[in-house]
């Protein structure tokens, strides 16, 4: 077990954040403790930090399948999403932007602020390609669709999306939020097709506060910076670089890719065991969407008659960290927009829990989680008087 979070229980919230990999921490440490020069400095120390960023950019380009110069480091996935949407939308008509209804708020909120059109999904949280086709025409300038949904884990047909966009909206750029995909998929194929792609470090064993937007060369002239005040990141993102974070992102991405096949098969096995055992013990429970549509790290379950705020509190008491929906500023849970977009009622949406596994998840944690889920459910349904 690698983290404090899972040391005394089960940490099944990797979709929210993952434990930092030891190698990542080591690689970052020198840039936090020993080096402090500004990478833009015209001196030996500055050049050293510049080199660290350049090396990181090379590594990340290799991992992702793009050239180093196409990577724009940001403060995380949300900033990268904002840069993609606002940065491209400048000068576009409001209706020229289309995003799916199940995007992360990092895409959805900027899109709503622009008056973008929202493409629907089907009852399994997969983009409705036929509806999308009807929305596309030559006036469309930007389409943003995520690779893997962050809540229910559905893998989206981005290849088909791109084909539709190219044939019906030839001038449109395609942005893909791949924050949740990087842990489980090789993005090289995806990157050949899309124009802009978002990743984040802390979902793959890297640090918080760093991510990147890949801006393919063909899109470079169409995007404008949001932060002005320096020529960093080829004039697309002003501000002194987060050197340690950038190094951490590159190392995490490299390790994630190296271990992807093994991790995927191992996690699939324990995820399936978790879901199967919970479903056997709680007959009323069901998978919110079909398992084959989801990535291996996601177990999204519906427990009819329960309220997720209560379920999560009891799970927490049993040492199981899970999640549901997203939190508003006060910390209260909001019914998930993804589940509502799938057609669930607010009450149905409130009866769902998201369990997300990551590279560090262990079989032992799963045992603990199964026990915790069953106990919490029993208590909520009044089966046990304590």
């Amino acid at each position: 077990m690698t983290s404090v979070e899972s040391a005394h229980g089960a940490y099944l919230d990797h979709g929210a954040s993952t434990p930092i990999l030891p190698e990542v921490f080591e690689a970052m440490l020198v840039h936090l403790r020993d080096h402090y020069a500004n990478p833009s400095g015209v001196h030996h120390a500055g050049r050293g930090e510049r080199r660290a960023i350049d090396d990181a950019r090379d590594i990340l380009g290799d991992v992702l399948g793009c050239s180093a110069g196409e990577i724009v480091f940001t403060s995380g996935g949300t900033e990268a999403d904002n840069l993609a949407i606002f940065g491209v939308a400048q000068g576009l008509a409001p209706g020229a932007v289309i995003v799916s209804a199940i995007e992360h708020h990092g895409v959805l909120r900027p899109a709503e602020a622009l008056g973008a059109r929202i493409a629907p999904v089907n009852g399994q949280a997969v983009i409705d390609l036929r509806q999308l086709e009807l929305m596309l025409d030559s006036s469309v300038g930007l389409v943003s669709m995520m690779a893997v949904n962050n809540e229910v884990g559905t893998v989206q047909p981005i290849g088909e999306v791109v084909s539709l966009v190219r044939s019906h909206a030839p001038d449109a750029l395609v942005h893909c939020d791949a924050v949740q995909a990087l842990q489980w998929y090789d993005l090289a194929t995806l990157l050949r097709e899309v124009d802009l792609l978002t990743i984040s470090a802390h979902k793959i064993g890297g640090p918080k506060g760093v991510g990147a937007l890949v801006v393919r060369d063909r899109a470079r002239s169409r995007i404008h910076p949001l932060l002005l005040g320096g020529s960093q990141e080829r004039d697309l993102r002003a501000g002194t670089e987060n050197v340690a974070g950038i190094v951490g992102l590159a190392v995490a991405a490299q390790l994630t890719k190296d271990r992807q096949l093994l991790n995927t098969e191992r996690i699939r096995a324990i995820r399936d065991r978790f879901v199967d055992q919970v479903l056997r013990s709680v007959p009323s429970a069901r998978e919110t969407v079909a398992r084959e549509l989801r990535h291996v790290g996601n177990a999204h379950l519906t427990f009819p008659g329960t309220v997720n705020e209560e379920f999560l509190m009891l799970l927490d008491q049993h040492g199981v960290a899970a999640s549901a929906g997203s939190s508003c500023a006060s910390g209260a849970l909001e019914p998930s927009h993804v589940l509502l977009a799938m057609g669930l009622t607010p009450d149905e949406a409130r009866s769902c829990i998201r369990f997300t596994l990551g590279a560090s998840s262990t079989s032992h944690e799963i045992d603990h989680a199964i026990t915790g889920v069953i106990a919490a459910h029993r208590q909520l349904m009044g089966d046990v008087v304590e």
Partner: protein
């Protein structure tokens, strides 16, 4: 005992939580989010939730936020608006206690395995000579909040703790200061949380005006039928009101005697015309059991107005001496000595 404390982010519930921790209970704090969108800045605001969380951190207890916005909208805000549409004067704070704090919140606490729910109200739950749990006035009569809890039943009392009910407000603040609680000097909260929150001080008229159609009405003298003028929104007029009813200032002050929304008429008269000898009550509740007709009680129609002696009737209460009319929609608390025995809504 496992206790779930409703922490609003104010000083009273902060001290309530602190005392329970010191008494050795297993305490968890929870703040109800009742109103407002993601960036809400009024009641149940992010700042209040943060205060509650920081106090909980200071006390070393867990803190959770419960999203009850839909229940609040359905049970409190909606009925509040409808009552005004009918020309009544509702008390949303009491409805919040009735449907949120001591219903949805209490239910949740039980499901989560808590023995008690605690709040920072100035009222006391005590055992009477027969060993029965009773709801009594707070020891600090100036702060007494038994009125806003008068809808509680004995069954609920068994699961409620009011740790500061025997304290004076100044004591509460002193205890908060002694314990270094950041809410020690925080001002008391406002009357109607969702209105302050929504309109930033512009008040009820704007809040209601955005939700229902407001109608102007004639202001008519009771005896003579003389037309004093008009009010812009009959839905906002309350019985007993004196200000803002556009009467000629040269005559004696006029008081609202009746509000007739369908006919768009506000009837005014002298203060003495407001005196009534009985109050009709609906939605009556009893802490333990219904008292027999003719029982002598004292009644109170606001948190700090003086209690009046009365006897119970089939329709409500008959007053021992005449008292001012009370607007429909207001809550009347029924006491015997300093114990709450029941409540009703003026109709």
């Amino acid at each position: 005992m496992k206790v779930l404390v409703a922490m609003s982010g104010g000083v009273d519930s902060s001290v309530a939580a602190a005392l329970l921790v010191e008494q050795g209970h297993e305490v968890v704090g929870a703040t109800m989010k009742l109103w407002g969108g993601e960036g809400d800045s009024g009641c149940c605001s992010v700042a209040d939730v943060t205060d509650a969380r920081r106090v909980a951190d200071h006390l070393g207890i867990d803190h959770h936020v419960f999203n009850f916005t839909e229940t609040f909208d359905e049970k409190v805000v909606g009925p509040y608006i409808e009552a005004h549409r009918r020309g009544e004067t509702p008390n949303p704070c009491i409805e919040c206690n009735r449907h949120l704090k001591f219903d949805a919140f209490l239910d949740r606490a039980k499901r989560l395995g808590f023995d008690f729910v605690a709040t920072g109200h100035y009222a006391q739950i005590v055992r009477d000579d027969a060993g029965v749990l009773q709801l009594a006035r707070g020891l600090d009569h100036r702060k007494d909040q038994s009125y806003v809890l008068s809808m509680l039943t004995g069954e609920q009392l068994a699961n409620i703790l009011l740790p500061i009910g025997m304290m004076e407000k100044s004591e509460t603040r002193a205890m908060a200061r002694e314990r270094g609680l950041l809410t020690a000097e925080k001002p008391d909260s406002q009357d109607v949380c969702f209105i302050a929150s929504r309109t930033q001080g512009k008040g009820r008229a704007q809040f209601l005006g955005e939700r229902i159609e407001l109608h102007s009405a004639q202001v008519v003298e009771r005896k003579s039928g003389f037309r004093h003028g008009e009010v812009p929104a009959v839905e906002l007029i309350t019985i007993g009101q004196r200000r803002g009813i556009s009467t000629n200032s040269s005559v004696r002050p006029r008081y609202v005697l009746d509000v007739d929304v369908p006919r768009r008429v506000v009837t005014v008269g002298d203060k003495e015309d407001l005196l009534v000898s009985e109050h009709r009550l609906t939605q009556r509740t009893w802490v333990h059991h219904e008292l027999p007709l003719g029982s002598v009680v004292s009644v109170q129609a606001s948190a700090h107005s003086p209690a009046r002696q009365a006897t119970l009737t089939a329709d409500g209460v008959e007053l021992t001496s005449p008292s001012r009319k009370i607007a429909p929609g207001q809550i009347m608390t029924i006491y015997v000595n300093d114990f709450v025995v029941g409540s009703g809504v003026i109709c």
